[in-house]
Amino acid sequence: MRMQSPNPYEPTLGEHLRSQGISRRGFLKFCGLLASSMALAPAMIPKIAAALEQAKRPSVIWLSFQECTGCTESLTRSHSPSLEGLVFDAISLDYHHTLQAASGDAAEHAREEAMKEHYGKYVLVVDGSIPLDNPGYSTIAGISNLDMLKEAAAGAAAIIAVGTCAAYGGLPKADPNPTGAVSVSDIIKDKPIINVPGCPPIPMVITGVIAHFLTFGLPELDSLGRPKAFYGQSIHDRCYRRPFYERGLFAETFDDEGAKAGWCLYKLGCKGPVTYNACATTKWNDGTSFPIESGHGCIGCSEPNFWDFGGFYKAISIPTGASGKNAVYAAAAGIAAGVAIGAMNKKSKAEAASSHQTVTVEELNQESGS
């Protein structure tokens, strides 16, 4: 990856890839992969290819706030030489403080230059959440995350919130949220924002979203701002262990016979049924596997608040609070209230009994007194 300096001639992506030695065959293969991961028909592959060929290399500014660099790691640790990497390489990454060679003023200068030069056209990528409690919790070059985001967002064509922290607040926002962390969409309301959550997101998904943006513009998003193409199905829907779920066969511990036989991990806390991501189809590590294949349930990392989802090892249905204790307190409260109302009932009944006047036949034979 190289930092691009402003260039009057902007080569198309196709030209750039060819100059990098990527064959037409390899390029089409990548387009096919993209198409399938976006659940597009094979007939769309040539269209993707044509669109990508013609796409201009956009300027990309990548801001990293309260994050762990895992998202960047995910992307850069992809296999070399990978096509995803190359597409990533093909964008004009004008600022990324982890990856760029420049540092200090030079780095910030590059950002300011790019923002000026491509105002209204650059793509803003954000990873990490933004602290609102105290701007000093996280700053870059003395600028608070909030200010930097607002400034960079103003001239952005679109924002891609990479990783669950940027998309939904992620780990920093986990209870008790000491920094007052929020997501990009909590702050920026007037720009298109594409959430690419995951902790980290699948590299293929990051590049796929970028490719989609380059070729077809903004992708169709779900209610949580995620591209439906990658987040349209739950892990559970596509899980190869699903048949065991259906048959009611569950691993009870990580080393029991069920676990060894590859049964469903629902009872061990798998969040697959409520987690939307492409792990089960795209997989990780160059398509090797995904966590459930390693015998660990999905932790739901592409969903908001996944850290506070009641524990990674507790089944989804389990309430998050201390229910058992609560029930005991409730019973105690019930006893207290019951004793009180019981005493009232007893008193009321005793009063009724003592105020009973003997009924006589003389009374019965009177004209009704009421």
Binding site: Y168, D222, S223, L224, S234, D237, Y245, E246, R247, G248, L249, F250, Y266, K267, P273, V274, E303, P304, N305, D308, F309, G310, K314, A315, I316, S317, I318, P319, T320, G321, S323, G324, N326, A327, Y329, A330, A331, A333, G334, I335, A337, G338, V339, I341, G342, A343, N345, K346, K349
Partner: protein, 219 residues
């Protein structure tokens, strides 16, 4: 509040509130009932009230042939949805986990499609029960709003649970959230509606049976 926040809320504080009201309400209601006491009986017993009470608790699960014929829909459909509710509530793996987390112990579950089938049958039975209630002159006459509330709070959790499992209409998170919320509504109204019969039925059968036992009535 997005759907995950909603789901977390229903699984967290809302569940705790509902469980609290349910438990406290249950205990309170039992105190309310038992505090009214019973007079000492001076009549010389002809039989053992305890035995009679226990006998009636079990005997009333069945009925004589003529009564069965007269009240066939009530009895058959009633049985179907009660068994269905039992299976769905207590034998679905996800539910067993909830009980385990609240009570500290669990039990084996049935396979999900089996429970799913029970859920469908139970829903159908409940719809029949509702139609029957609306059409049967006596039932319609006896029914108060409370009867329909009790029906609704029983039916909705089944429906939302079914829809959450089959990913119908809304996202599974939303549906799961609605499902849990509907159960919380059920828990909250439970002690204060006729749903309370789940517990008092044993008390009532026992009281009635004890009176029968005392008089030496064997049915």
């Amino acid at each position: 509040m997005n759907e995950v926040d909603f789901l977390l809320w229903v699984k967290g504080s809302a569940f705790n509130i509902a469980l609290f009201i349910f438990m406290a309400g249950l205990v309170l209601r039992l105190f309310e009932i038992l505090s009214l006491g019973r007079k000492v009986n001076y009549a010389v017993p002809k039989g053992d009230p305890m035995q009679g009470g226990l006998r009636e608790i079990f005997r009333r699960f069945g009925t004589d042939k003529a009564t069965f014929q007269r009240s066939m829909i009530t009895i058959v459909v009633g049985y179907v949805f009660h068994i269905g509710l039992f299976v769905v509530i207590f034998l679905l793996a996800a539910h067993v986990e909830v009980f385990k987390s609240v009570m500290g112990f669990g039990w084996p579950n049935l396979s999900t499609p089996v429970v799913d089938a029970f859920a469908v049958v139970t829903m159908i039975a409940l719809v029949v029960v509702l139609i029957h209630r609306l059409q049967h002159p006596v039932k319609r006459f006896l029914s108060s709003p409370g009867d329909y509330v009790a029906w609704a709070v029983t039916f909705v959790p089944l429906l939302t649970g079914y829809m959450a499992y089959h990913h119908l209409l809304l996202s599974p998170q939303m549906m799961l959230g609605l499902h849990i919320l509907s159960v919380e509504v059920l828990l909250i109204v439970f002690p204060f509606t006729k749903l309370m019969h789940t517990f008092t039925v044993f008390l009532s059968r026992w009281y009635n049976g004890a009176s029968m036992g005392l008089r030496g009535v064997k049915s």
